[in-house]
Amino acid sequence: MTASADTAIARDLVACHTCGLVSRWPSPPRPVRCPRCGVSLHRRIPRSVSRTWAFLAAAIMLYVPANLFPVMQVTSLGQVRADTILSGAEFLLAHGMWPLALIVFVASILVPIAKILILGYLLLSVQLRSAARPIDRTRLYRFTEFVGRWSMVDVFVVSVLVALVHLGQVAEVEAGLGALFFAAVVVLTMLAARTFDPRLIWDNVDTDVRFAAD
């Protein structure tokens, strides 16, 4: 990686995020719109670092009740069983469904933790102006953006079971608060990944760029 790569920002250009057209960035800067599609132009996602931190902090706080409260309560033949995110995966494992147990464990336990840790690391690396391993960090970003949605699977399991078991009079499934908190964690980490601007990683590699990552 050269110290002065040929980037849009280094050449005072800006790409429209809707139609892709590359335009000249005005000097002195003023609010401008894309000459082709009319969308307002930004060289980087506005206040990307602080907004991503805000979403991430909210996700971390809700992650605790998401795992403590049951996602659902099953009443079957007079017996009541409460399932948390973790015990749901354990149930599948105990019944020999290890491929599904693995998927559920990865999607609902590993992925949310990995996503929170990776986004926190990326934010810190950008704020500390790290120039180390930009390709690997871009890959980490791409991974969190791609994989984050799959954590929603547990919420959908609750939604399907609630509809299905209500039909029989023998068993009843009730959604728990844990499902609501967990859905909020997934939505918040998705929003965090979308407000993070991966170009900030590269701005620290391209040393001639002095762009304030607020």
């Binding site: 050449r11 892709g20 599609c37 599948l92 959908f156 399991v157 029989g168 990683i201 701005d203």
Partner: protein, 204 residues
Amino acid sequence: MSSILPHHHDLVACHECDLLQRLPGEQGRGRVRCRRCGCVLHHRGRDLVAAPLALGITALILFIVSNTSPLLEFGLQGQRDSSYLLGGISELYAQGMPLLASVVLFTTVIAPSLHIGLLIYLYLPLLFGWRAPGFVTALRMVQAVLPWSMLEIFLLGVLVAAVKLAEQATILPGPAAWSLGLLVIVLAAAATQVHPHRLWDLVA
């Protein structure tokens, strides 16, 4: 109103690392990746209008089937019944979880139907060389709604739920389970066929 900015039709800036580059010509097929960070910049040699439109119309038919036919059929101690995709949402609402119900409603019904509807709205007029009114807004909405359309994840949820109940009850997939499986494939194909940046070269 600001004056029109000078611009460059022959350049692209990578949306992940900002590197400026020129795209290769339209000869050949396949993905064009960023020279520096490797993210996909461009798909060459694809049919820009007919393929997305065909996928959109196929998806519409499958989406209607998925929402109007039983998802799972359920037998327990002689009772038989079936459940629908929307049934879970209304049951969550009835249990006093309106927020959770709206998350499921948005990710499995509203976002996919916006995706499918906007696809047809954008591409059907293009087939006749027209640009639909509100083209920019519709295009931005497709880009915004795509990550929130989660039918493939919902399908995995259906599978997990069926397995969890399999030892207490007889569970059979209904017509909606099969059409949902096809819909997931069609929507994934449609998502890779929409190239907002190239659409602009067509309508500008």
